[in-house]
Amino acid sequence: MDIQPAPLEKAKLTKLGISFDALSRYDVICLPENVFQTEKAEDLHDADDSIHLAKLLKASDVRCATALDLGLDVPFLERRSSDIWLGVVWLGEHVVLPVVIGVIVKLITSKQDKKSSDRVTPTVHLDLYIERVPNVVTLSYKGDGKTLAKVLKSIVPEKEAP
């Protein structure tokens, strides 16, 4: 985990056409996976599973937006490997963490169950940004789903745990 000043990250997003205002209107934003690596909006792309994640969050009544909801019509990368690519997930300051983490864990588990007969566990790729004003806590994860589920559950303060 890493802690950075929130304004720095937000400035990068503004440069790509994502406003502060938009960030404050939502609890969760599923951002393009290369949003913090590129400086040009035309190079942005979503991860394949991030659209699915955004739909699950919206269905759970979480105020969630994708790049498209924020006015950025970006393509997505379809990888024909069995890994799970969740892209960059930005969690706002007042997000209900247990609900969001519950949805992410459920998605990973259901995807892994589908591949239950496979020989090796698929790798999950996720960059999580949690706003803790004035900072942003970041978690860049690449590994198995079970460990990620444990890590995510440990983020939730005990009194909020589901």
Binding site: E78, V120, P122
Partner: protein, 230 residues
């Protein structure tokens, strides 16, 4: 069209045909049943519920699995199939089709036939792993500008349908628009999404790969819209 009970009971005439080694008969039973279920999906009786359509859908995938399995038995019936490269590749592809469909229907259909097929497929897969190893596979990375939902036909990013979920007898999938579709790279991986894209030892010639599959368009329910059987 037979009654619903008779359609469901087709499994009990399929299994004896398979046991007798009459793969043609088994295929015919499965194919007839799939066609009847497809007719029901296309023109459902007005009084039938969404749940009924879900059952018809899962049953149609189940009987398509039975068809694939009988076809697999047919492919592996000649003694020399293991010495023929074309047969080895064809059996592997059919095994993948059968396995994917079976895994999908297992959440809704259970019983001795399902278990028997699962065990036979596992044995066949083990044969490949023993003789050819776990394998290396081609895994392309595609940049998709837009993809359409098979349920509502809208941009998949804008609707609420979830890929892979079945809605009133139709399975949601994202169909990429070929306009703006770009292959960014081609990786070689040990765990691919599509096991059909396996690289066989005989396809590696010095520093070249010849005749490999890069991408297939298999869908669990692709037989519903088309009349493809082989």
């Amino acid at each position: 069209m037979r009654s619903w009970d008779d359609i469901c009971a087709s499994e009990y005439s399929y299994v004896p045909a398979l046991d007798r080694g009459d793969n043609e008969k088994a295929k015919l039973i499965a194919r007839t049943t799939v066609n009847e279920l497809k007719t029901l999906l296309g023109n459902p009786p007005p009084e039938k519920s969404e749940e009924f359509l879900q059952s018809v859908f899962y049953l149609s995938v189940f009987f398509r699995t039975l068809y694939d399995f009988a076809a697999l038995k047919e492919l592996t019936s000649p003694d020399d199939w293991v010495r023929n490269r074309e047969s080895l590749e064809a059996v592997w592809v059919k095994l993948c089709d059968c396995k994917e469909r079976l895994e999908f229907v297992r959440s809704a259909v259970a019983g001795d036939t399902v278990e028997r097929i699962a065990n036979d497929l596992a044995e066949l897969e083990a044969f490949y792993f023993t003789h050819f190893g776990q394998g290396l596979y081609v895994s392309p990375v595609l940049l998709v500008k837009r993809a359409f939902c098979t349920i509502c036909k809208k941009d998949i990013r804008c609707c609420a349908h979830l890929s892979g979920r079945v809605y009133a007898g139709r399975r949601c999938a994202a169909i990429p628009d070929t306009v703006g579709l770009e292959m960014k790279s081609c990786d070689f991986v040990q765990i691919p999404r599509d096991l059909r894209c396996r690289i066989w030892p005989w396809q590696v010639k010095e520093d070249k790969l010849l005749g490999i599959k890069i991408l297939t368009i298999f869908q669990i329910d692709d037989f519903i819209e088309t009349d493809e059987w082989e």
